[in-house]
């Protein structure tokens, strides 16, 4: 329905909205939305459009760009050989695959770490529960770089862990902890934990205890109850947390550059190199476009599945789980 129609028809009786809409022009609305439209239009949408254009331009010999269409930036990611000097090389593809693998493992590990704790916290008495939630949220506000620095201190050759192990007599000489994929994973899990915990906790707290009891009463064992009652009911939290962890992990370059060194490069490091050292901006832009499209595709998938779950047609989701719980006999 048209806004003006609604406004003018109601205007006669009373003023239903805070900002009474003038007859035709929504001056109030324009005033409220003007700043954000101008700002995000110029400093958010336009940069993204320019980046998209750059990803299709030819890189200049000494940095900079040549203004001609050039699709090989994307081809190069896949190992496409371009020009007489370059050969078929899947080094970028390998880094890409590693980034996906690391991001997926990080999601799995944060889930593994957070799920039991979220259960434990949800069963605490209110005061202690709030305190625990406070403790989990607090690191989220602490400086990211400081929290990662802590792990540099712990994992480096003369670091805390090596000192501890040699004092205990477990090792003779320092073992290689930092600059490994494990170190990168530890760092990523450490900074991503709050992103997984909070959505997970939200869905676990809402869990209806009676459904679990019903499942036990009807003869289902612990594993069956978990797999067929608890897991489906907490799936929204799991999916939400997975999305929130996966997105920032995929393009992360701070963690691999501090804890992975030159050995464990991720796609984010590649982007950084192209912009700050190799000065091949079009290739860097193409890599960034790739990260962005993966993220957008995932988000669209996520929004569509959650909307389906919430839409009137999809309200069957909750009763269906109940049915399943009842059908366990």
């Amino acid at each position: 329905m048209n806004t003006t129609d609604t406004a003018s028809s109601l205007e006669a009786s009373r003023k239903p909205r805070l900002f009474r809409v003038p007859r035709n022009v929504h001056w109030g609305l324009l005033g409220l939305l003007g700043p954000v439209t101008a700002f995000l239009g110029i400093f958010f949408l336009m940069p993204l459009v320019i980046m998209a254009i750059f990803s299709l331009l030819e890189p200049g010999l000494y940095g900079g760009v040549v203004w001609s269409f050039y699709a090989d930036n994307f081809g190069r990611i896949l190992g496409w050989a371009n020009g007489p000097i370059e050969e078929f090389d899947i080094v970028y593809l390998r880094i890409l695959m590693r980034s996906f693998r690391i991001a997926l493992i990080t999601v799995a590990l944060t889930l593994l770490v957070c799920y039991p704790v979220a259960f434990w916290v949800s069963r605490l008495p209110p005061r202690r529960r709030n305190f625990c939630l406070f403790l989990i949220t607090l690191p989220f506000f602490a400086s990211l770089i400081v929290r990662l620095y802590a792990w540099v201190l712990i994992l480096r050759p003369s670091g805390f862990l090596n000192q501890l192990l040699s004092t205990l007599g477990a090792i003779r000489e320092p073992i290689e902890l930092i600059y490994t994929e494990t170190a990168v994973l530890i760092g990523l899990v450490y900074i991503m934990v709050p992103f997984m915990f909070l959505p997970l906790y939200a869905s676990i707290e809402k869990l209806d205890r009676q459904l679990i009891d019903a499942s036990y009463d009807l003869g289902a064992g612990r594993i069956a109850t978990f797999r067929r009652v608890i897991l489906p009911l907490t799936m929204p939290g799991i999916m939400g947390g997975a999305i929130l962890v996966f997105i920032p992990t995929l393009g992360n370059f701070i963690v691999p550059s501090l804890l992975g060194g030159a050995k464990v490069l991720m796609i984010g490091n590649l982007v950084e190199q192209q912009f700050l050292y190799a000065r091949n901006w079009p290739f860097g832009a193409a890599l960034a476009m790739l990260i962005m499209s993966v993220v957008l595709a995932l988000l669209m998938l996520y929004v569509r599945t959650t909307l389906k779950r919430r839409s009137p047609r999809g309200t069957a989701a909750k009763p269906r789980t109940k049915d399943r719980a009842e059908g366990l006999t």
Binding site: I50, S143, V146, A150
Partner: protein
Amino acid sequence: MSKLFGLLRQRFLTAYSLLFFVFLYAPILLIVGYSFNSNPINMMVWKTFTLDWYRSIFGLSTQLGENALYVESTDQLLAAVRTSLVVALTTTLFSTVVGTLTALAVARYRFRLQSFYRFLLFMPMVMPDIVLGIALLIFFVSVGMPLGTGSIILGHCTFLISYVFIIVSARLAGMDTRLEEASADLGAGVWTTFRRITLPLIAPGIAGGAMLAFIISMDDLVITYFISGVDATTLPVFIYSMIRRGIKPEINAIATLLLLASFVIAAVGLYLRNKQHSATPATTEKDPNDE
């Protein structure tokens, strides 16, 4: 027998959770501890308690030898702190105003592009930092805008507006619109209603959004890293490049001070929010359907 297993399982879960909290806090406490260690050669080996690292970052006289002073110049550090504060305060002010205006528009009007605006404001929050960072870098260089404090401020605002928008929107959604209607019925104009009814009611949301914007701006590393140029360095970028050059005891002291500052701000913010939550929704707390 099954009761015994239940107890064991409960014990295991508790132990697991306590380990989780150790995992969260031990690394942070480690830095704090080391920042007071006087051993200049190996900071992992405890020698004696000292405040010298703190003194040295502020350029005060210490008992350390000349060669133990690692922060190239205290001026650099203080300049980074100053840049960070200027950026954070400016972005907080701007993004709080714009974010609140947008939230008011989306919550109190019905218009055709409403879902587009929700989407537009959602985007900067989910855009990976590195993508936004390089998009802004290309943009600033393409339009010929010099990189520096100005570009950092503009860059931070692109995503901080969204955070303020989300928090103020949540507050507006939970607000009783009948109060505004009553005010209008009693003859108050648009401006008076806003100033005397809406604003006081959403003020906690605005304050919360502003606080979040300030913290995120102070902490942002990736986007700042790309668009800061050579002249302006914020504190996180300064620490990042310091760590990359090598581990020095001063970093512990700087990190500890930074942790202290962000924990104090966050704790005050969370405390105020909890207080409000327990103070305002008296009706929902007594709701029998709640549990």
